[in-house]
Amino acid sequence: MRVLVLLAAIAAYGAPKLVKLQTVPASAALHGAKSGQQFLAIATYSDGTEADVTAAANWSVSNAAVARVTPGARVSPVADGGTTVEAAVDGVKARSVVKISGSAEVRPFQFARDIGTILTKRGCNSSACHGGVKGRGGLKLSANALFPKDDYEWITRGGTYQVLSAEIQGERTPRVDVKEPERSLLLRKPLMAVAHGGGKRLETDSEDYRTILEWVRGGAAYGSGERLASLTGLEIYPPLAAMPVAGARRLLVTARFSDGHMEDFTNQVLFSSNNGDVATVSADGVVNGKALGETAILIRAAGQVTSVGVGVIGPVIAQYPVIPRANFVDDSILAKLRKFQIVPSELSGDGEFLRRVCLDLTGTLPPPERVREFVALRDPKKREKVIDALIGSPEYVDYWTFRFSDIFRVAIFANGLTPKFSQKYWEWIRENVASNRPYDEVARERLSAQGYGAASRHFIPYNQIGPAADVMAEEVRVFMGRRLDCAQCHNHPYENWSQDQFWGMAAFFGRLFKAGPVVFDHPTNMDFSSKDVDGKVELLHPRTKAPVAPVLLDYSPLEPRADGNPRKDLARWMTSHPYFAEAAVNRIWGYFFGRGIVDPVDDFRSTNPATHPELLTALAADFQKSGYNLRHLMKTIVMSRTYQLAHTPNATNASDVTNYSRSLSRAIEAEVLLDAVVAVTGVPETFATSVLEGGAVGQAPAHTRAINLKDPDMYFSRFLELYGRPNRGAIPERSGKPNLSQALHMLAGATYVDRLSAPGSRLRTLLERGAANASIFEEFYLAALGRSLDKDELAELTGLVAQRGDREAALREFVWALISSREFAENH
């Protein structure tokens, strides 16, 4: 029904009327002779859509003695004073305020800004060219002019950068020629006056050419600009651009400076599209929609990178339905869907919701009787009640212990080589989950752990203290969602992470040492501390070979501590940094939707933007306000309408995979899937081990669930290996992709053969009870899929049993099919 209504709405779409005109920015302050501001005229139409009508508008200024405006809506100063700039379209008018000061002043030259802009805008310092790890053709530039002093050095003094050594390779021939400026390599190369692998990048009649030439003529100084305000950020209008195929939107880039002033930077950045098939972008920032879909436009300025989301949308839905919201989570999701003209699916059915929420909160399928009860219950608050019952339940504690054992890497090899050590670590995680300890406290204890307690086990893979660089990179990835690893050997190729920052952070872990020998099973004879006993700094910078002292990522100062454990400062700084809450909520969100708001969940970077930045901020703020309460966060997520949407798509959202317009299917983790096979068939799995646990050797206690196995490297299970149980030697990344071995195992493996009608199994019990085929089907459907079978399915299955001749064999094969099905193996 819904689909038909929508189609009718689309068909009814007629010519919309202009209802509102707006000029952007609303106001601008221009300072200096060379300053300028691009304005846009944005029209809003009766169907709620927006369009950029800058080109169609008539532009004028109220005070021509102060400023002038081009037909293309660029305002530049004439004299100090104030004016308005006005746009008129079809008799509708809008205006902005412009203030002009210092109209005779010329800003002093700044290498970082003036040359950095040219190098960035023309792509010289992109990571594919001179901004790459090793540079290109002997010239190394910092990516996006992040490190202007280094760039200045290579340009004015010459020589070739080496990745693994601070020594300079080759002759130091300057790339500028102060005596004969036109002969500067910095000009002749991009002009292609001499061979240049990057091709022609500059023209002699360009402003940029003149800027460089003047700079060299003036002696190629770094400039007095250091005292001037520096660029601290970029703001993009519109923050999210939606347009139809063949439509266009122009982007305005505004730069924010350290003294608080703003400047139009649209002409001083490099635009690039992440997916040119969906949308292209011109050098002056006009985005053109090419095909339905979503992508991002990256915007690079000297020292700054940002991005803006672009949606190329389908036909406008004339009567977009009103979608009720459940909580703040829905606000940004629904707003974006509306903007992109995607209608979310209906609310999920009760059975569908129950299966999903049980799997997500507890890793456990609801048994058939619970499904029946829940579906039959007439209580408007029943969803919230079941959520409250699930959160904090014993299964919840099992499941989140399991999930955090993944991220925190509980494994014999990873925690000191004996099960006793890893089990202590597992117990520590479990206590934290069971008591719902604030997540920042958990992080702080883990980061600053000393002595041989549970929380420090992860520092000692293979019973040796892990390399400082690895330990640090792991902590930053787990707790801040950033991957610093690339900066270990060189400045990060496309992020604002320098190698010095990396090693400064690593140095926090560079003083760990073991005091005394390790004797297995006698952990008390060993101390594990970061006391700087003899003042010796353990860590050397790989390029400069100089000792590195601990420095926080933002260079904020550290006071020496009486207890000699600088990791306490690190832990406090990390957990109070905005990255901490963002990374935590994004990770948890990812568990409930199969993808993060930033995805992968621990790969935040400027070139990997969030799909819903406001949602991330709101969730993080709420998480922080709740005292880093994970249960509160989870409840907020699962109570949202977004989480509770149906899996069934409609005409507008079938291809949407990023905007949460329906519940997408996601592979169930290996351990949960095996537990589900056990639950549906009613036949437990035995896990063999060769390591002693709880006094039992040989196998885990009867009825142990796969999610409760403490060490993945302690118990064998062909099924778990095939379905991608990670070994936790590295931070686990479960892919959930099928493989041939799974298919073989499904056909012939013990998991799928032996248990189908074993004594005590669900099927055997039902047969012994004399159940009819229809009720056997029903029972299994409820157990495995959380739903009843429909009439067509019942007819088809009944037919297949009859056709087979052998009833019991047929039912066995039915059970096989059920636990081999995609609907079973996925959460949706």
Binding site: N727, Q742, L747, L797
Partner: protein
């Protein structure tokens, strides 16, 4: 943005659903013009003492003996090999990283040091991905699987390359009850049952898949078809069936895990496997921290000598030697000095390995070590150099880099100091 690749993926998947494309796994193997089709890695777990095997020195308590190649001497513990030295190339100047078993095993099997931020694919997985499968036989096999702990096994896996390139890890063929699971239908499952299962599966999944067809679903269909083909192809099952080998040959290999794993490896490469790790030394590790000499003399070297020579002879008799490269190595060598427990400890700084087959130039020893076997004195060979040589033999561009999921380029032949390995010219002479 990641969803774009995802979208492409889905697009590819929908083609697959229409039968217009199948996963790469099922695609025809790339036309490998190279003569070498397979690698057998004879895995000497624990790390053999190089000075007591292939690089004899005065600080070994065993005498060097002459071989059938003038100028090359090896330890008296390997008499059979000495008579066949013309079939082997030794490298005596391996210089690698990792001073304990996990680190060193990871290093020699992947070419990279352990990094908690990511898992690296093994050489076997990278080769399998480059070359593709042959004859429906599992292309990448590890035999036998470890009985305790799966950490080491994981180092042999494909990491981000995906499950298709993971080794199939099978039980110990040296045990009397040896049977490869999942390759044949259990006796309780008849053909009628198989057909009925498929019909039920279609019925159960119809409603769900009508709503939701993903690339993963179509991949699984393709894998199921492939699995069915494997199970129903006698040649595949036969490749794992050691009862088809004459008892005499089994004796020659040695009727233990070490010998039978190598025999199975030969059967598998004959049938079409690309990379087989014969790891029969699990239980009798070369990790001789105590009683180094006694262990090498009584327990370790005799089966190595017997099995390695038999493997090379057997491959040659079957005309498989030129198309199969044999690598016999551990994760490092052992210390030049004897410790108080009469053992030798770990030594990645300088160690030896043996190569045979693959059309390489044999009857030579590459590189030299100092008088105690402590340091390389001539021709440092890195793991990357060895990998580059293997890739070159198999027609794969060894300078290639593969992209990790986060966009970090990974050298497939990673040498020391972030360099790419160079094929050993001596092998191609």
């Amino acid at each position: 943005m990641t969803h774009d690749t995802r979208r492409d993926f889905l697009r590819a998947g929908s083609l697959g659903f229409l039968g217009m494309g199948l996963p790469r796994y099922l695609a025809a193997a790339p036309a490998a013009s190279a003569k070498v089709k397979s690698v057998i890695l004879f895995w000497l777990e624990g790390g053999p003492s190089h000075i007591d095997t292939w690089d004899p020195k005065s600080n070994s308590n065993f005498k060097p003996i002459s071989t059938n190649v003038p100028g090359i001497q090896i330890s008296e513990l390997l008499p059979k090999m000495a008579k066949k030295m013309d079939k082997f190339a030794l490298i005596r100047s391996m210089h690698t990283r990792g001073n304990d078993h996990p680190q060193a095993t990871h290093y020699v099997i992947t070419g990279h040091e352990i990094n908690p931020a990511m898992q690296f694919p093994s050489i076997g997985s990278m080769l399998t991905k480059e070359l593709g499968p042959r004859n429906a036989v599992p292309p990448h096999v590890l035999v036998p699987k470890w009985e305790r702990g799966r950490q080491y096994e994981d180092y042999f896996r494909a990491a981000f390359l995906g499950g298709d390139y993971d080794p199939m890890c099978i039980p110990d063929p040296g045990k009397p009850d040896f049977q490869v699971t999942d390759l044949s239908l259990p006796k309780t499952v008849s053909q009628a049952a198989v057909d009925s299962r498929s019909a039920f599966l279609k019925a159960v999944d119809r409603r769900y898949r009508a709503l939701n067809e993903t690339a993963e679903h179509t991949d699984m269909d393709a894998f199921s078809a492939q699995a069915m083909k494997m199970i129903l192809t006698p040649a595949v099952r036969d490749a794992f069936d050691l009862s088809k080998e004459p008892d005499k040959l089994k004796e020659r290999y040695g009727k233990d895990s070490i010998g039978q794993s190598c025999l199975l490896a030969r059967r598998l490469v004959e049938a079409g496997s690309v990379f087989v790790t014969a790891a029969g030394y699990h239980g009798t590790s070369w990790d001789t921290h105590s009683d180094n000499d006694k262990s090498h003399r009584d327990r370790l070297c005799p089966p190595l000598d017997r099995t390695l020579v038999t493997l090379v002879e057997d491959l040659e008799e079957r005309g498989l030697l030129d198309s199969t490269l044999v690598i016999a190595m551990g994760e490092f060598g052992r210390t030049p000095h004897i410790n108080p427990a009469l053992g030798r400890d770990h030594w990645p700084n300088c160690w030896s390995l043996a190569l045979a087959g693959g059309g390489i130039k044999t009857g030579q020893a590459i590189g030299t070590s100092d008088e105690r076997g402590a340091n390389v004195t001539n021709r440092v060979v890195s793991m990357g150099d060895l990998y580059a040589s293997v890739y070159k033999l198999m027609g794969v561009d060894w300078t290639k880099e593969i992209m990790s999921p986060i966009g970090r380029p990974i050298k497939i032949a990673n040498s020391l100091e972030d360099k790419t390995g160079e094929p050993l010219a001596e092998l191609f002479g």
